[in-house]
């Protein structure tokens, strides 16, 4: 059963076709990864699912419900959470406040109660603090930085805080846009472990865009390959790896041997 079904989605900006007739499924409780060369339309696809872009054609169904016309904040409340390619943390807030902000849609405190910090405001703040501390800060091992302003953190930790904020949204589908880009090996391994744990223990479906093929092939259950706005392959990691269309998209030529020869003529001669 698929939690997210994308069918015949098309998105264009003027004459540029960012997505053309894209269809694929995200099976429930899997780690599904979208790969493809730069400019293939991966982030555009994420933006369509978030509701930030409005596709001209096709539809996205989430738990069987079409998402057309649903505003981004409503989608967040329905359980679609995401992180961003170029870290979109709120730089003026501490780590703790950033994570708490993720729980915004699950709180009801209004303006007056907030101003008085009495009744619901105080109760909800305490509940959310406890949940964030127990489930998220502890799990992602970021308790030592909870009071730090996010702007002062190294890149790898910022990515982790962004994941924490997305988890505070209590998502059913977690969309991660390049979660390990720019990380060193140790940070990548940590992140891969967190993603696997999230799927196993939190009962969350993960939809990910990533360029690091080692990690993609290791942890994905299901892969969709985009190129020039079209899905050129879909399936399990092994199938996708063997697919000649995919190899062609990445290397520009299906004949790897001849490619190697052209790149290294000297070594071949020796």
């Amino acid at each position: 059963m698929s939690i997210l079904e994308i069918s015949q989605l098309s998105l264009s900006f003027g004459g540029v076709h960012a997505l053309q007739d894209v269809s694929f499924q995200v099976p429930r409780d899997t780690i599904t990864t979208v790969i493809g060369p730069n400019g293939a339309g991966k982030t555009s696809l994420f933006n369509c699912i978030s509701g930030f872009y409005k596709p001209q054609e096709g539809e996205i169904r989430y738990q069987g419900q079409p998402l057309k016309g649903v505003k981004p904040p409503k989608r967040a409340a329905m359980g679609l959470a995401r992180t961003f390619q170029n870290i979109a943390l709120f730089r003026g807030m501490t780590v703790l406040d950033n994570i708490k902000l993720g729980a915004h849609v699950h709180m009801k405190t209004g303006l007056l109660s907030s101003l008085a910090y009495f009744g619901r405001a105080r109760r909800e703040e305490m509940e959310i603090r406890e949940e964030v501390e127990r489930r998220i800060i502890d799990f992602l091992e970021i308790d030592h930085i909870r009071r730090h302003p996010v702007a002062s953190l190294p890149y790898g930790l910022q990515k982790r805080v962004e994941l924490a904020r997305a988890l505070a949204m209590r998502p059913k589908v977690l969309m991660l846009d390049e979660p390990v880009a720019g990380m060193n090996r140790e940070e990548k391994e940590d992140m891969a472990r967190f993603i696997l744990d999230i799927r196993e223990e939190w009962d969350i479906t993960v939809l990910m865009v990533e360029h690091d093929m080692g990690m993609v092939m290791d942890i994905s259950d299901h892969i969709a390959v985009l190129n020039f706005g079209q899905v050129i392959a879909e399936g399990e990691p092994e199938d996708v790896q063997q697919n000649p269309e995919v190899i062609k998209a990445y290397l520009g030529n299906s004949d790897i041997d001849s490619l190697r020869k052209r790149l290294n003529p000297d070594r071949e001669a020796a």
């Binding site: 978030s50 509701g51 930030f52 505003k71 981004p72 904040p73 989608r75 967040a76 409340a77 959470a81 995401r82 961003f84 979109a88 943390l89 709120f90 730089r91 003026g92 807030m93 406040d97 708490k100 902000l101 993720g102 915004h104 849609v105 709180m107 405190t109 209004g110 303006l111 109660s113 907030s114 101003l115 008085a116 910090y117 405001a121 105080r122 909800e124 703040e125 305490m126 603090r129 406890e130 501390e133 904020r165 949204m169």
Partner: protein, 347 residues
């Protein structure tokens, strides 16, 4: 050196004052503020009241511009709405000041929501211009709607009253202004440790991702406008009670710029910044005048040379603070605190 502030509960950890030292200092400050009118000269008392009113309005603008990132040049207009509301109510009804000030805040908030409507589409300088248009429009209404506002001549009003007490003097007004200023700051402090305040800051820092995280932008931007102009309305109402006369010229465009400058010089997105900025902008021109008076015995020509220089010196001070302390006066205070947190082990 700061020690012994480990906490057992999250409630204690998220309190406004987390250590006894802080509580004692705050109590001392409050006591000093309460004792102030009994010792101060009438001139200082007058300035104290002005600073109090400016703190309320600057805090309101800080919520909108400093915390939500929406630049507004309408603050003087919103204060005018509050002032005229109080003036009209005091002349046409017998309502006590808590009711009239509340009405002033609410009406200003309603106007603020209307003025804030373009903020969904425009931001930055464009929003500043949109709010500028609104303030020109409000000024026009103050001047032309004679039956209610009294036209260009404005109107004088009855002193504030409550339970048979009349608040005529600056001394009496001080005891209305001070509690309201403290209340306004406490409410703002509470706001920014809860959900709504976080949403404001999120909109300032990254509005697109705030929306994708589940914050409806228009609702929260309008909420910020409403709250900010509520503060302005109350401050305007106090202004009316304080001077007991309101004219369209009481709230010129330069007043909006005065508050924007107060927030920027004090420190945007920092409540202390609003306080320090309001005090700076109100007191420095007075201090410069005082300086002239002190210099006159030594240098008889001082008034002749200094009076045209005052504005220039004031402007230069603002520019100087912007260059050398871009995070505002509040940052200086933060550095002093940090020094004493580590002192005497490290300085």
């Amino acid at each position: 050196m700061r020690i012994g502030d480990a906490k057992q509960t999250y409630l204690a950890d998220e309190a406004i004052w987390t250590s006894n030292t802080q509580k004692i200092w705050f109590a001392l400050l409050l006591a000093a503020l309460l004792a102030f009118p009994f010792m101060a000269s009438s001139y200082l008392l007058y300035l104290g009241c002005l600073v109090g009113i400016a703190v309320i309005s600057a805090t309101g603008l800080n919520i909108l511009t400093g915390y939500t990132g929406l630049i507004s040049l309408g603050q003087a207009g919103f204060m005018g709405v509050g002032a005229y509301t109080v003036a009209w109510l005091s002349n046409n009804t017998a309502l006590p000041f808590p009711v009239t000030l509340l009405a002033a805040g609410l009406l200003a908030a309603a106007v603020g929501i209307l003025v804030g409507l373009p903020s969904l589409r425009v931001k930055g300088l464009y929003l500043a211009i949109a709010t500028l248009a609104a303030s020109v429009f409000l000024h026009f209404i103050f001047a032309e709607w004679e039956p209610v506002t009294g036209g260009m001549e404005g109107q004088s009003l009855q002193p504030a009253h409550l339970l048979g007490l009349e608040f005529r003097s600056d001394f009496a007004m001080y005891f209305i202004i001070l509690p309201l200023a403290v209340l306004a700051l406490l409410a703002a402090k509470n706001l920014f440790r809860t959900r709504v305040g976080r949403a404001f800051i999120a909109i300032r820092d990254r509005d697109i991702s705030a929306e994708i995280l589940g914050i409806p932008l228009l609702k929260y931007k309008l909420m910020s406008f409403a709250l900010s102009s509520f503060y302005a309305g109350v401050a305007g109402g106090l202004f009316a009670y304080f001077y007991r006369v309101v004219t369209p010229e009481s709230f010129p465009l330069s007043m909006s710029i005065f508050y924007l400058a107060a927030v920027i010089v004090g420190g945007m997105g920092n409540l202390l910044g609003g306080i320090l900025g309001a005090a700076f902008m109100t007191l420095v021109p007075e201090a410069l005048k005082l300086l002239t008076a002190v210099m006159t015995p030594i240098w008889p020509n001082a008034p002749v040379f200094m009076s045209p220089m005052l504005e220039i010196i004031f402007g230069a001070l603002i520019v100087g603070f912007l260059i050398f302390e871009p995070h505002g006066l509040a940052e200086i205070w933060r550095r002093i605190r940090r020094f004493f947190h580590l002192w005497p082990f490290r300085s």
